[in-house]
Amino acid sequence: MTVSRTGAMPALLGTNPGAPVLAMENLYKSFGRLEVLKGISLEVSEGAVVGLIGPSGSGKSTLLRCINRLEAPTAGTVRFRGVEVTNANLNQIRREIGMVFQRFNLFPHLTALENVTLAPRKVLGLPKEQAEREGLELLDQVRLRAKAGNYPDELSGGQQQRVAIARALALRPAVLLFDEPTSALDPELVGEVLEVMRDLARQGRTMLVATHEMGFCREVASRVLFLDEGIIREEGPPEQVLVAPQQARTREFLARILNR
């Protein structure tokens, strides 16, 4: 199963195929008096894998959540293929943006397969049979076909996160957001999740990954952003940002992470 799924969906009405998949312009986000994002501008082109690194509280999660509007930005715009994300077209655009959470957030009352097929059936209206056929293929892709009938509480953390990835892929999104997908896992379970993500990157998927896994970033990311106090402190190819950082703050952060 190596068929690329990107582009299988009819393009969103009014989108511009030439535009970057995602473009953020001057994003600000405050929670009360706490300003978390202080002007973020960023473009993500087709097939890019963007690694978001930075200390806790630097705004990585908030940035991802502003992209699919789980948080409404205080100021600034997010464009998907040239179309501004607004409350009006939100449900349309969310189909194009898959999200994987730190705590998996699987639906505990549904089996692994039902977790994966819920959105195709209820959002796209696919018939059950077709949704299940495609769902099983996706579970195959994350190597969990055998667990299709299991409920989340019968799965290990790593297995749950892989089901969550399959679920995020089910609507064939144009871009995937990963919000620290391995931070809640026991160390020995991190590998299997990263392996699946590596596969996705190899297939040429567009991904934004907030993570503390520097090795993964170095190997897979096409670009790394160092977020610090709500701004992009440094960005560039991984071998530059991670190996020879220009900024003192980046160096301090990397030293702390690597000496953990």
Binding site: N68, L70, N91, Q92, R94, R95, I97, G98, M99, F101, R103, N105, L106, F107, P108, H109, L118, A119, K122, V123, G149, Y151, D153, E154, A164, R167, A168, A170, L171
Partner: protein, 543 residues
């Protein structure tokens, strides 16, 4: 064993309605009264030693007994105090509901009843001892002013008639063949008269003096019609095992009647003179109470009130089952309406829309903050003044479902709020809209979590449904009080009632537990294993 039984019938959230208390009191009375009721001889000595004579009375029956400005007063009260003087014991009056009064006597909570009780053979047979008559009474009819359809007893055969439950008015109607569902039995005569005024029933039947006084005090729209049609005598009620008390009371009454005190009290409350003819008639019927001699000869009742009369229970069962059916039907309908309504209210409260939220919040606070009894009253008795006339059954289901919805909405709200925020975020990030996320992700999980409190609410509702008897619906508790009201064995009846409630609530809780267990992951895995086994056997393969 009895204590654990009491614990078992008590809902987790505690009693909510007030109606279960007499039932519990009676059950507890099983134990407490055992020693007390046994003593046949020496009742007077015991009471003198205790220093008070407790007389139970239903103070909603002017001019016999009623409460005005916080004061208990009336014909019975003045007369009863004089009897106390004759016995040399101070009287303590215990106001209580009519339908609990015979049970209170049986279990020793009170020493006698003085509440305008008519002496009947039926009541004597069922284990009550009556004093000599102290008042000559009779039944008469009240109708809306000028309602020419009703002129006498025979006109009531095809009408809807209100009575106070288990009074001689009710028996008179039954005797002339008025079908049972045409007789509306209320806790209080006043409620029955309200029902006539609202046009829901055509007439009311009750004791002439009571009817006359109550109409004058508060029902100018109604009038008495026809003559007194059943002549009856009113007496005090004591336990049959206490003939010496009965004898003393009779002697006291004789003295009070002959020395002129009776005539003074009569004139004060009946607002007419006690004529010589009346007094001689009262003397003529002197022996229509219970015979002290016969009671002395009768074998002393064997000890405690704990005895259950299985014959009576068998006899009462069909009627009690009819009551249980009504209880179940009303509760079921109220739940069918109350659960979706409660869910809607919860969703309204959680919605971000301020007006919707406000309406839902006010609704919940008002309904939860007022007694269910008042809500039933308002819907049945007050809405007619706005020209909304609902039948008893519709009123009952409406009141119970509106009330249950308020509690259920809070259960749902707490349930929905207990679902982790990540669930909604995951659902929304998959492109589901708010309604879809609720429908497919949040509510299915909520339902599993709220099942135990929801069951609790259903059980509470089942028992609270006994309150609908105030609007003359014969549900289980009402059937129980009807059957026990004039029997000397309320304990047997209430015991059967309690068992029937248990028989209805236990399957409900059992079903819930099964459902909860099915949703547990472990048993889900076991189920799958069971399904998979034959498959493995047939293919002979390894999983």
């Amino acid at each position: 064993m009895v204590f654990s039984f009491l614990k078992a019938i008590r809902p987790i959230g505690g009693w909510r309605g007030g109606r279960h208390v007499p039932l519990l009191a009676v059950l507890a009375g099983f134990l407490l009264a055992s020693g007390l009721a046994a003593q046949g001889q020496g009742t007077l000595e015991r009471l003198r030693a205790k220093g008070e004579l407790v007389i139970g009375t239903d103070a909603t029956y002017p001019p016999f007994e009623y409460i005005e400005n916080g004061q208990l007063k009336g014909f019975d009260i003045d007369l009863g105090n004089e009897i106390g003087k004759e016995l040399g014991i101070k009287v303590r009056w215990q106001p209580m509901a009519w339908n609990g009064i015979f049970g209170a006597l049986e279990t020793g909570k009170i020493d006698m009843i003085m509440s305008g009780v008519t002496i009947t053979e039926e009541r004597k047979k069922k284990g009550n001892a009556f004093s000599r008559p102290y008042f000559l009474s009779g039944q008469t009819i009240a109708r809306r002013k000028g309602d020419q359809r009703i002129r006498g007893l025979q006109d009531l055969k095809d009408k809807i008639v209100s009575v106070q439950e288990e009074t001689t008015g009710q028996y008179a109607l039954q005797k002339i063949g008025v079908p049972d569902d045409h007789i509306l039995k209320f806790d209080k005569l006043q409620d029955g008269l309200l029902d006539v005024r609202n046009g829901k029933s055509d007439a009311a039947v009750a004791d002439m003096p009571a009817l006359k006084t109550i109409l004058r005090k508060g029902f100018p729209e109604l009038e008495l019609v026809g003559d007194v049609f059943v002549h009856e005598n009113v007496g005090l009620v004591v336990r049959p095992g206490e003939p010496d008390l009965l004898e003393a009371v009779n002697r006291g009454l004789d003295t009070i009647i002959t020395d002129g005190r009776y005539a003074r009290i009569y004139e004060k409350w009946m607002e007419e003179p006690a004529t010589p003819a009346l007094l001689s008639e009262l003397t003529r019927v002197r022996n229509e109470g219970s015979s002290v001699e016969a009671l002395r000869k009768a074998a002393p009742r064997s000890g405690s009130a704990l005895r259950l009369d299985w014959g009576l229970m068998r006899e009462a069962l069909p009627q009690l089952l009819a009551g249980a059916r009504m209880t179940l039907a009303v509760t079921f309908l109220a739940l069918i309406l109350g659960v979706p309504l409660g869910l809607l209210i919860a969703l309204a409260r959680l919605s971000g829309l301020p007006p919707l939220k406000l309406v839902a919040t006010v609704y919940v606070e008002v309904v939860r903050g007022t007694p269910l009894l008042m809500q039933i009253y308002v819907i049945y008795f007050v809405l007619p003044s706005l020209h909304i006339n609902l039948s008893s059954l519709v009123s009952a289901v409406t009141a119970l479902s509106l009330n249950a919805a308020a509690y259920i909405s809070e259960i749902f709200r707490a349930g929905i709020e207990s679902i982790e925020a990540g669930q909604m975020e995951a659902a929304r990030s998959l492109g589901l809209d708010y309604a879809g996320a609720m429908r497919w992700v949040i509510l299915p999980q909520t339902l599993r979590r709220v099942l135990p409190p929801l069951t609790n609410e259903a059980v509470a509702l089942l028992k609270d449904s006994s309150l609908i008897s105030v609007i003359a619906l014969s549900e289980l508790t009402r059937k129980g009080t009807e059957l026990s009201a004039n029997s000397g064995r309320p304990t047997t009846i209430y015991f059967a009632v309690a068992l029937l409630y248990l028989a209805m609530t236990l399957p409900l809780t059992y079903l819930t537990r099964r459902l909860e267990a099915r949703w547990q992951p472990v048993s889900r895995a076991r189920q799958r294993l069971r399904k998979a086994k034959p498959l493995l056997a047939s293919t002979g393969g390894q999983p």
